[in-house]
């Protein structure tokens, strides 16, 4: 309304105050950071794919080489196959699970929700390792695969399904929560059957959520590296190919080419998702009435059974990894011992790696949250400077579309170039923090932007007319009101920094070895049980932090959000 009024008034060019200049300077600063941390490295990797080993420009020669080597380009088909299968399975399962949690009267809903979110706390390597213990040649339920091998597409699909389930479920839950009870009443009043209601009301109302879930699942699976690394067997996919090119053959140029090939589907899925999401906004109406599920014994029982089954699978995979980390010498000596937790004697792992991970996660959470929230605030609340804000908005979206492996490799090319003045960052903790903050920037930014959008612009106008400097408003009003979102962002950054492998695998140095990378290296060396043990350390830490976060949120909600209730 306010905007409309302004538009009709005679045009007055607002005076740009010194405050505005400060805000713009900070905004430009953050935009510069994103340029250096994502755009320039991406350019470095792109140009690398057009050069030969001696750094001479060779045009498309590397690409021609890629597409004329069957062992390489077949991976595209493999990647797409497992990814699409995963998406169909996970989106279906998550849809039913979310339906059970939002539209039925099953008991223990919060327990089921908690269990379903467990996989977020672990690196994708861990479920894959657990699968080996369950279905490998010495696996305890090996026969359940009817003689098929876990190493290959079957293992990849199973591991990825586990890994992406919570991400897809979260989207489905949000989509399901936003449905209008009046439509169900109308459908009921018109005498439509339950099944007809499902197809004419339920499904259409969540179709955008479904599409979005599908694309998120697609991006996560096609770019994940942990699962295929452990259980991929002979089945090559793009993500492991990049690693193999760079680490095995020291063929950085081909690594850059495969990176570009992997970037394309991820970019496509991301763009498609953004377009779909944009259309969703118009669907919600202010007059919608929240849907209240009614008891239905048959549906409730079936749904409870379904949730129990899924929950059981999720818990048993984690339980298997836990047991494996304590068993002395699988499968010949199953007595329990802590010897696999003695990381200092293992190849590629040490307790240092664990402390480094905590350090990285803490820095990422603190710096990342401050930067992301400030950036989002300036994009949402500063005045004028439309081009700058739009550019910043776009910059914030890019990291989501870039697979971690591509980002990590891009950093090697960019930061280790001999003429780069930022070269001193290479092999340090700061570069890992920069990489991780950037890698997870988009989701954090969207969370912050959503919270800020809910905050009325009047706050800024009022404080300005009272001559209160903007930073005071920011620290005394904006930050406290958005505290829940800020905690969510720091939690998200912390847990992801603990579990990420893909982006940092090319970047760590001996002084900055990380727990998640240690899992990879220990599994690679064949020390699978210690790898599982390190994975359990990460799960435990992430879970503990999550609990602290829950406690903090509750306390802060009580203190700062009381005004929301009447």
């Amino acid at each position: 309304m306010r905007d409309a009024a302004v538009a009709q008034a005679p045009r007055i060019t607002p005076k740009v105050s010194s405050e505005d200049w400060i805000m713009r300077a900070v905004l430009v600063g953050i935009a510069l950071y994103l340029t250096v941390s994502i755009l320039l490295p991406l350019y470095a990797i792109l140009s690398k794919s057009f050069k030969n080993a001696d750094g001479l420009f060779v045009g498309l020669a590397n690409y021609v080489n890629f597409f004329s080597t069957p062992a390489l380009f077949w991976s595209i088909e493999n990647s797409l196959t497992v990814t699409l299968i995963c998406c169909v399975i996970v989106v279906t399962l998550a849809f039913i699970y979310a339906y059970a949690l939002t539209r039925t009267c099953i008991p223990f809903k919060s327990l089921f929700k908690g269990v379903a979110l467990l996989p977020i706390l672990m690196p994708s390597l861990l479920p894959a390792i657990a699968l080996v213990y369950l279905f490998g040649n010495q696996g305890i339920i090996k026969d359940w695969l009817f003689g098929y091998e876990i190493y290959g597409p079957i293992g990849i699909v199973m591991g990825e399904c586990f890994y992406v389930f919570p991400h897809v479920l979260t989207i489905m839950l949000i989509a399901m929560a936003n449905s209008d009870a009046r439509l169900y009443e109308a459908s009921d009043a018109l005498g439509a059957s339950k099944i007809k209601t499902f197809f004419t009301v339920t499904l259409p109302s969540v179709r955008y959520g479904l599409v979005s879930a599908f694309f998120v699942c697609f991006t996560l699976v096609i770019t994940d590296f942990g699962v295929p690394k452990v259980v991929g067997g002979k089945y090559n996919v793009l993500a492991t190919d990049i690693y193999k090119q760079v680490v095995g053959r020291q063929d950085f140029e081909m690594g850059a080419v495969v990176s570009m090939v992997l970037l394309l589907p991820a970019l496509f899925a991301f763009a498609a998702d953004r377009i779909v999401q944009r259309r969703q906004v118009a669907l919600l109406s202010a007059r919608a009435v929240p849907y209240q599920p009614k008891k239905n014994r048959v549906v409730d029982t079936a749904m409870l059974a379904f949730c129990c089954l899924i929950g059981l699978i999720l818990v048993s995979i984690l339980g298997m990894a836990c047991f494996a980390s304590f068993a002395k010498f699988w499968p010949y000596d199953l007595s329990l011992s802590l010897k696999h937790y003695n990381f200092d004697l293992m190849d590629g792992g040490s307790w240092n790696a664990y402390w480094n991970s905590i350090e990285l996660a803490a820095w990422t959470a603190v710096i990342g949250t401050a930067m992301v929230f400030t950036g989002a605030y300036l994009v949402e609340k500063s005045k004028g400077f439309h081009s700058g804000r739009a550019a910043m908005q776009l910059l914030c979206m890019i990291p989501m579309a870039v697979p971690g492996l591509v980002l990590g490799l891009a950093y090697v090319f960019f930061f280790n170039a001999p003429n780069n003045p930022l070269g001193f960052l290479y092999h340090t903790m700061p570069i890992l923090v920069i990489c991780t903050v950037t890698h997870f920037y988009t989701v954090a930014h969207l969370t912050a932007a959503t919270a800020l959008k809910q905050l009325d612009g009047e706050f800024e106008s009022v404080s300005q007319s009272l001559k209160v400097p903007f930073y005071k408003t920011f620290f005394r009003i904006t930050v406290p009101v958005c505290m829940p979102a800020i905690l969510d962002i720091s939690m998200y950054l912390f847990v992801n920094a603990m579990t990420t492998v893909s982006a940092v695998v090319f970047l760590y140095s001996p002084d900055t070895a990380l727990a998640s990378v240690a899992i990879l290296n220990m599994d690679d060396a064949g020390d699978v049980a210690p790898a599982a043990a390190m994975g359990m350390m990460i799960v435990g830490t992430a879970a503990a932090v999550r609990l602290v976060h829950a406690g903090l949120t509750r306390g802060i909600l009580a203190r700062t959000q009381a005004w929301r209730k009447r």
Binding site: G248, Q250, W330, D344, M346, D347, N416, H427, A525
Partner: protein, 346 residues
């Protein structure tokens, strides 16, 4: 900072001990020597302690990773090398890096006591010097072998028999130095045509290819597979830990590579790097090499290592490092074309 504090605690204790023995704390600051290595983690501590005992003014900082990763790290940094010395890394990798003019020659004191076939004799002073040999071997899990009624293989040829179908794992030569060493040795033993025919037959029996060279043996140790093509040190070590393994050196001959060192060109810590080079060819060092590896560069030192295949030194092929390094990419491409494609339908 916690991490640095923790690691320095262990190192600190060693330093304190050394200083106490010498009776006086060294007044001048220690030189930090950045050493890139592929030697397994559990051995590094003992090398560091022993070296620093003889050279109290040097502080070794390890950069440890598997051969493949260390090599790619070094290559990635070739414009702007970080390492002072590369130590305990495959000679094949060092030859590859030498092409980029990565190293400077140095003849460590006592070089003449080493066997000539274990260091670089084409350049004087040599660019690289070998420390000990890591040798291909086959790890055979006797429990699994009995379960599937598999006879113990004695030759490489045996592994192509239909009875072993799906029971053999080997490292992918495109990602593992050990894998390449196997392929290169088969070609050097039987000539290229026969070797590819052999690998065609072997491929039919392979369950899958692993990224790392030690994994096949560790998988065999755990019974995840019956037969893992790996290297002798790994097999002996797993067997010592109680795995039901038989470590076999096939009779046709086994491939090998050398853990070697080379000083990086234009290092700022040349003196310290040379001190490590001198120490590495000393009798003390050679005896430590021998604790886990049966074949070391100085003749007359090696004592048999527990559970190493007997007489493995006689089975080592005549390895032409130059040829292997020069043909590496061609062989790897050919291998990838043949075996690394789409997985076969079941």
């Amino acid at each position: 900072m916690k991490s640095t504090w923790f690691s320095s605690l262990g190192l600190g204790l060693a330093t304190v001990a050394t200083a106490a023995i010498l009776g006086a704390a060294p007044a001048k600051a220690k030189t930090d020597l950045l050493v890139y290595t592929a030697v397994e983690a559990d051995e590094l501590k003992k090398f560091k302690t022993a070296f620093e005992k003889d050279n109290p003014d040097v502080n070794i900082k390890w950069v440890r990773d598997s051969t493949g990763i260390i090599t790619s790290k070094l290559l990635a940094e070739k414009e702007n090398p970080k390492a002072d010395i590369v130590w305990g890394v495959a000679a094949t990798s060092l030859l590859l890096l030498a092409d980029y003019d990565y190293f400077q020659g140095y003849a460590p004191k006592g070089l003449d006591k080493l066997s000539k076939k274990y260091y670089d004799t084409t350049n004087t002073p040599p660019l690289w010097v070998g420390q000990r040999a890591w040798i291909a071997s086959v790890c055979f899990n006797t429990v699994e072998g009995e379960k599937y009624k598999l006879p113990i293989p004695a030759t490489w040829e045996d592994l192509t028999k239909p009875v072993y179908k799906g029971h053999v794992i080997m490292p992918n030569p495109n990602s593992s130095g050990t894998g390449f060493l196997d392929v290169s040795s088969w070609i050097q033993i039987q000539g290229e045509d026969k070797a590819w025919k052999y690998m065609d037959a072997l491929h039919k029996n392979i369950a899958r290819y692993t990224h790392s060279g030690s994994k096949p043996c560790k998988l065999a140790a755990k019974g995840e597979i019956a037969i893992g093509i790996s290297f002798a040190y790994r097999g002996a070590k797993s067997k010592n830990e109680g795995a039901p393994l038989e470590v076999i050196a096939p009779s046709e001959g086994v491939g090998w590579d050398l853990e070697s060192f080379a000083i990086v060109k234009n290092t700022k810590n040349l003196k310290a790097a040379q001190a490590l080079a001198d120490w590495s060819v000393s009798k003390t060092a050679q005896e430590i090499y021998n604790e886990e590896y049966a074949v070391v560069a100085m003749p007359g030192i090696a004592k048999p290592v527990k559970n190493f295949p007997v007489g493995i030194e006689d089975k080592m092929i005549k390895n032409d490092f130059k040829w292997a390094a020069a043909n590496r990419i061609r062989i790897l491409d050919e291998w990838r074309k043949r075996y690394d494609g789409k997985s076969e339908p079941k």
